[in-house]
């Protein structure tokens, strides 16, 4: 499996979807593309997307929906031809993921803080039913400002959900600017450790670094795991990188063509 190539295809399809829709959130989708690539093509156990015992993934930062759809399409859960319908009237590919419209979307999300809480509920369900599946969820770093997220962290640790892995897409940018300027969530690792997590930092664009972090997560030691993935918002498209302006804006035709070209594809 060529993970690099897969991640590149996913990034191309993120840009194509958002360009076709004329709206969407490229920055935070591109930043987590490598994380989702590794999850869906190496880490997670998904015999089929309807298997009760499959590992679950919840996109808590639901605005990165284009990333989730591009990944599911790459993984065969969604027909690639559906991607151009993203965010359009009648499409199953809603602006924020809807579990009832797309097989493969494990939880509806969009209101920040919601997905992580539901994901913890799924991990609790696995424990109660003595199932072996694991639950992964991806949060934005800005999302950590939602108070209910910390309610969930408290509970995950209290219920010893060692089948639960939180990945924080730590690109340090949210809509209104830098996370530490808007409302600092730092120090992250220390906070998560204090909440009872195994907390590890990783380079969110380096598969071997992420792989090591997921190995820590797979450890059934009675503690949930948090992976603080250092990422670059807009990763892969030079003019989108580290620029909060690309949080929730679609590229025009010229920009989309340039972005896709930089990623090695064609619009």
């Amino acid at each position: 499996m060529d993970l690099e190539k897969t991640a590149r295809n996913i990034r191309i399809n993120i840009i194509k979807q958002i360009y076709a829709a004329g709206s969407g959130h490229p920055g935070g989708a591109l930043s987590a593309a490598d994380i989702l690539t590794l999850l869906y093509f190496e880490v997670m156990n998904i015999p089929s997307f309807t298997d009760e015992n499959r590992d679950r993934f919840v996109m808590s930062k639901g605005h990165a929906s284009a990333l989730l759809y591009a990944t599911l399409a790459q993984r065969g859960a969604i027909d690639l031809s559906l991607l151009p319908t993203f965010r359009k009237l009648g499409s199953p590919l809603q602006g924020h993921p809807d579990m009832n419209k797309v097989t493969g979307v494990d939880m509806t999300a969009g209101s920040l803080g919601l997905g992580v809480s539901a994901a913890a509920g799924m991990a609790l369900a696995a424990k109660l039913g003595s199932h072996n599946y694991r639950v992964y969820t991806l949060l934005g770093d800005g999302e950590l400002q939602e108070g209910s997220v910390w309610e969930t962290f408290m509970a995950a640790s209290h219920y010893k959900l060692d089948n639960f892995t939180v990945i924080i897409d730590n690109n340090n940018l949210q809509i209104d600017g830098e996370v530490d300027k808007v409302m600092s969530v730092y120090p992250l690792r220390e906070k998560l450790v204090a909440f009872g997590f195994d907390a590890v930092e990783a380079d969110g664009h380096d598969f071997s670094s992420l792989r090591k972090a997921f190995a820590v997560a797979s450890n059934l030691n009675g503690k949930p795991c948090a992976i603080i993935a250092k990422t670059i918002k807009g990763k892969g498209v030079s003019f989108m990188e580290n620029n909060a302006d690309w949080h929730g804006k679609a590229p025009d035709k010229e920009q989309a063509a340039l972005a896709v070209k930089e990623l090695g594809g064609e619009l």
């Binding site: 939880m107 209101s111 803080g113 919601l114 539901a118 509920g121 799924m122 369900a125 309610e151 509970a155």
Partner: protein, 311 residues
């Protein structure tokens, strides 16, 4: 006999837990007040006290429902529907997940705790949510059956329960039918349409009206969403006048719901008994009902007004 509807919930949920191992209960540090501690005693593995954290409680319940469990979320109605609204909307109702909200301490009859804990807007909030169903049982007998019925419905359900001991109006032969109003007493002159603990008051008001020569029908609209349109329209045609009676705000409660059915389909006189754009305050349950316009005399005078409007 006086029994609180929260007491009935406590018994019913244990029964359910015995029959169905998919039933789980979530609580936010109110296991004693909401009486889920009985479930906790019987099924410690299936009772989750998440601490004072209503939002995460609801999100986790949604996650469990997505994995095939039937979670009953329990706290006070004020926090369970108010603070929690976004989670109910986006984590439960939008994905139509099978989470039940058995919320106690609804309405003024919370009593001494005062306005922060006396929820009067919950029906309005929950009625506005697609996929949500609402049941406000009239007494302990109906509350028990409503809990059983809610477990059989594959969608979110809000069961509105009270703190105070209130009269039992049904005997054990009563059969709750989800979505159907119960005609307690038939009548021709005016329809007293009540829900929750106000049904017992409506029955008492009927006796007073009878002495004044008015023959009132009394209907229990325990299912508030979906409202029993047929019952509303049958009695609109029959009596031409309604008094709606609820321990809830007049804005967006049973009265608003019934009035919108009559206004659209069969305009007739509708007078409303409920809390009038106000918060409550500390006091004894009965004192509060009197002060805030929810006494038997208030029902009687509104009924007389409704009858006069017909002429």
């Amino acid at each position: 006999m006086m029994i609180a509807t929260r007491e009935a919930f406590s018994q019913a949920i244990v029964e359910l837990g015995r029959k169905n191992e998919k039933i789980v209960v979530f609580n936010a540090d109110l296991a004693h007040a909401t009486k889920t501690y009985e479930f906790q005693k019987n099924f410690p593995d299936r009772h989750f006290n998440v601490g004072i954290a209503e939002m995460n409680m609801t999100g986790m319940a949604a996650g469990m429902a997505a994995c095939g469990y039937i979670p009953f979320v329990s706290t006070f109605a004020a926090f369970g529907t108010g603070r929690n609204y976004d989670m109910i909307r986006n984590a439960v109702c939008y994905p139509n997940l099978n989470v039940k909200f058995a919320l106690t301490h609804a309405g003024l009859t919370v009593g001494e705790d005062g306005a922060t804990h006396q929820m009067l807007e919950d029906i309005a909030l929950m009625n506005a949510l697609p996929n949500m169903k609402i049941i406000a049982p009239a007494d302990a007998v109906e509350a028990k059956q409503a809990i059983y019925a809610a477990a059989e419905i594959n969608s979110p359900v809000y069961i509105r329960l009270g703190r105070a001991k209130t009269p039992v109006i049904y005997n054990d032969s009563y059969e709750f039918k989800f979505g159907k109003a119960d005609v307690l007493v038939d009548g021709e002159d005016v329809t007293l349409a009540a829900c929750g603990i106000m049904v017992a008051k409506a029955l008492q008001a009927r006796e007073v009206l009878k002495e004044k020569g008015i023959n009132a029908a009394v209907l229990n609209f325990s299912t508030i969403k979906p409202i029993d349109k047929k019952a509303v329209l049958d009695f609109a045609k029959k009596t031409q006048a309604f008094v709606t009676i609820e321990e809830h705000s007049l804005k967006g409660g049973l009265g608003s719901i019934i009035a919108s059915v009559t206004a659209e389909n069969y305009p007739c006189a509708v007078k409303m008994v409920g809390a009038s754009d106000t918060f409550g305050e500390s006091g004894k349950p009965e004192e509060l009902l009197e002060k805030y316009g929810l006494g038997i005399n208030d029902i009687v005078s509104k009924a007389l007004e409704a009858v006069n409007m017909k002429k």
